[in-house]
């Protein structure tokens, strides 16, 4: 069997898996839209479940990818120049996935606009929505400045997609003469630097803010920790960095030489962040556990030794930290190993998010409340239903499709070397 045949088969297998996920997801979305929350497994005592976890997971990926893109546009890190656009695109895409996740989670999806029309700025959630909106505008503006000349070039080439490119470029036409073109690129770089500089504190604020959204809830001792905003930021950079590493090492988007350089740089980031993340986690767990007293104790024991102990030990620690660290440190030159390591870091971070959102809600506010009223929705227990997973499958498969189409048809790798942002 030739390599081409193997590749062809692998492609078909991926397409088949995607189609199954998407169709299953579609069923879930139709159920969600017609039956509301009827098929969800969360209840009144564990009100936040898989969709909220997915939301903070995707939003973390977005913030991480964006902050890495700022290394290119703000801090002018030459090594990563060629993947700046991909980072921005991933940031925009995962942000969209996050917002769709949380939108499906709302009791009244049609009322989401109220956060704009009647915001309560005491609420960190209202702040989040306003900051996301600013962030969306900023990412789209950055992407436009980055790709407008290439989009124009694509549009000029003609073909069926020419009107799409023209529309995405918002009608922008690059000047013809070399001097004017150079001036145009210089203008783009200036704007990118300005926007990126605004974006860094914005991304830090909103993702630290997502941590604060949980940390400010005094009713849940497990969340009520000053370390949370920092933990969230580290997690964002780590998972976003892992995802980019997987994309760069796993896909043929840059030349061999460029890839080696980018992978080396990203590997250093990911390893450093992974170790820092583990230190924070040690802090978060060891302090309340040390003397074996305190409010958080039961929740932490549930995470470590409860029925879902394997989510922490196997999925998170082994697959999300141990294996990637081993791969990145022992086989740094192996492209496949690095791609797997990045992918594992990014994917298994969902376990951290689930372990963050759900256990805090498993403890009754008053001992005995769990037996006070017998009702399937009034229990301190939660395992996501298949319906909830199906909606996540829809979000992931749609995101994957948009990513594929973007990488295939959009100028996400600069056409000409001189058009790179930095």
């Amino acid at each position: 069997m030739t390599t081409a045949m193997v590749r062809g088969r692998a492609r078909h297998a991926v397409a088949a898996v995607w189609a199954v996920l998407f169709l299953w997801g579609l069923v879930g979305v139709v159920q969600r839209l017609t039956a509301g929350h009827a098929y969800t497994a969360y209840g009144s005592y564990v009100p936040w479940g898989l969709w909220v976890s997915a939301y903070i997971y995707f939003i973390g990926l977005s913030a991480g990818a964006f902050l890495l893109s700022s290394l290119v546009y703000v801090f002018r890190l030459k090594d990563l120049q060629r993947v700046g656009r991909v980072a921005l695109f991933v940031a925009a895409l995962t942000l969209g996935m996050a917002l769709v996740s949380i939108w499906f989670d709302l009791g009244h999806m049609a009322r989401f606009y109220e956060v704009f029309t009647r915001p309560n700025f005491k609420s960190l959630m209202a702040w989040m929505v306003w900051l996301y909106t600013a962030y969306v505008c900023l990412i789209l503006a950055e992407l436009w400045f980055e790709t407008r000349c290439d989009l124009d070039t694509f549009a000029r080439r003609g073909g069926p997609l020419a009107p799409v490119y023209r529309a995405l470029a918002l009608g922008w036409r690059c000047p013809e003469s070399p001097e004017a073109l150079a001036a145009c690129h210089a203008q783009s770089r200036r704007w990118l630097r300005v926007l990126g500089s605004i974006g860094v504190p914005l991304a830090v604020t909103f993702h630290g803010g997502v941590g604060a959204l949980f940390a400010t809830v005094a009713a849940r001792p497990y969340w009520h920790s000053a370390l949370y905003p920092i933990f969230f930021l580290t997690g964002a950079l780590l998972s976003g960095g892992g995802l980019l590493l997987a994309v760069v090492a796993g896909l043929d988007i840059v030349s061999e030489e460029e890839r080696a350089r980018i992978v080396r740089r990203l590997t250093r980031f990911v390893v450093g962040l992974l170790l820092f993340d583990l230190v924070l986690e040690w802090s978060e767990f060891s302090i309340p556990l040390w003397y074996g007293v305190g409010e958080e104790l039961d929740v932490l024991k549930t995470v470590l030794f409860g029925p879902y102990w394997w989510v922490f030990w196997i999925v998170h620690l082994l697959m999300g930290a141990g294996v990637p660290l081993w791969l990145l440190l022992r086989r740094p030159g192996d492209r496949r190993a690095v791609a797997w390591a990045g992918g594992l870091v990014a994917l298994t971070y969902m376990a951290v998010r689930l372990n963050l959102v759900i256990p805090a809600q498993l403890e009754p506010a008053l001992r005995g409340l769990e037996r006070a009223f017998v009702d399937a929705r009034l229990v301190f227990h939660y395992v996501p239903s298949l319906h909830e997973w199906s909606v996540v499958a829809f979000i992931v498969s749609t995101g994957a499709a948009v990513f594929y189409l973007g990488m295939r048809f959009l100028p996400l790798v600069p056409v000409r070397a001189e058009e790179g942002g930095a």
Binding site: T34, A35, G36, H37, A38, T40, G43, S44, Y45, P47, W48, D105, L106, G107, H108, A110, R111, F112, E114, V115, R118, P119, N120, K122, S123, L124, M125, A126, V129, L213, T216, V217, A218, A219, R220, A360, Q361, P364, A365, L366, R367, G368, L369, R371, A372, F373, D375, A376, R377, L378
Partner: protein, 319 residues
């Protein structure tokens, strides 16, 4: 709203007529009353009250709603017969009617629950469900049960847990759209038409006192969802009609106890207070020094849940 007012006015009068009977009934069992009522006398009065109620049902005055609320409260207060000495329910009703004559911001509704008197019958839980037509997954006043000690010295303790109507409510500032707030009279209200259903308030409540309406019915999966489940609720003085599969509020909203605001504003005690078998739940205006609750909050047996959080609950327990 006219229909609602009519219904409420009728309920006030019905409760008034039945009150006499209940008063007599309670007198018979109350140790504090000191003397046993003559059974024949009691039956006579009960029949008279029933007859009065039947006569009133036949001649329902349709213009009851036209009487202003404060005036109605005053009428009820100035009834020729004062509440019988020792009848706590009647005393609380008189306290309530007195409070209603004041402007809203001068009232402060509080609840006191005597844990030594609570027998764990859960009549309050059930009456609350009936009053507010609560669906599966939603409960405003569960009764938490605790077993203390070991055989042969075992005791059970029951802690009814309504919304604490905190003075510093953690559920209010978290709402991203300001759909929940602290009223001037102390009750934490939810605007069902504004709530987006994000459930942040549910996670923020340190008493698990908020629940979510998933749009379900107890009768689902059985041959028929009964009509009583489809009846509207009148929370916050508005008519709320849930329907299967409909995304209409309060489906998709956070829901919680509101001390039966729609009842108290119309001169009736909260459903849980009226139905408590042992009169273990007291309700009234703390700003009125003459009120029963003001007197009870001065007890040395007083306790509040999770006071260390600084939420300043307005539900007190006598332990």
């Amino acid at each position: 709203m006219r229909t609602l007012d009519d219904a409420q006015a009728r309920a006030v009068r019905a409760e008034e007529s039945m009150g006499t009977a209940m008063v007599q009934g309670e007198e018979g069992v109350r140790a504090e009353a000191g003397a046993l009522t003559d059974r024949r006398e009691f039956v006579k009065e009960l029949l008279a009250a029933t007859g009065g109620l039947a006569a009133w049902m036949a001649l329902r005055p349709e213009d009851a709603a036209a009487v202003p609320r404060a005036a109605r409260a005053a009428d009820l207060l100035d009834r020729p017969e004062p509440y019988p000495e020792g009848n706590l329910l009647e005393r609380m009703r008189a306290d309530l009617l007195r409070a209603l004559q004041k402007p809203v911001h001068e009232r402060k509704w509080v609840m006191v629950i005597d844990l030594r008197k609570c027998i764990g019958c859960k009549a309050c839980t059930v009456s609350c469900i009936a009053e507010n037509n609560l669906p599966p997954g939603v409960v405003y006043r569960p009764v938490v049960e605790e077993e203390i000690g070991e055989f042969p010295h075992v005791r059970r303790r029951f802690i009814p847990r309504p919304c604490m109507q905190c003075d510093n409510p953690p559920c209010v500032p978290v709402c991203p759209v300001g759909a929940t707030w602290k009223r001037a009279d102390g009750i934490v209200e939810i605007d069902y038409e504004a709530c987006i259903g994000c459930r942040y308030c549910i996670t923020a409540c340190p008493y698990n006192a908020r629940t979510f309406d998933f749009g379900e019915f107890y009768g689902e999966g059985t041959p028929e969802v009964m009509d009583y489940e489809r009846r509207p609720a009148f929370e916050y003085g508005k008519k709320w009609q849930r329907a299967p599969g409909r995304d209409g509020s309060p489906v998709g909203n956070a829901r919680k106890c509101h001390f039966c605001l729609h009842r108290i504003e119309n001169g009736m005690l909260p459903a849980c207070v009226t139905t408590c078998l042992g009169t273990a739940t007291y309700f009234g205006d703390y700003n009125d020094p003459e009120s029963l609750v003001h007197q009870l909050v001065g007890s040395t047996r007083l306790m509040r849940l999770k006071e260390e959080l600084g939420t300043e609950p307005n539900v007190y327990y006598l332990v």
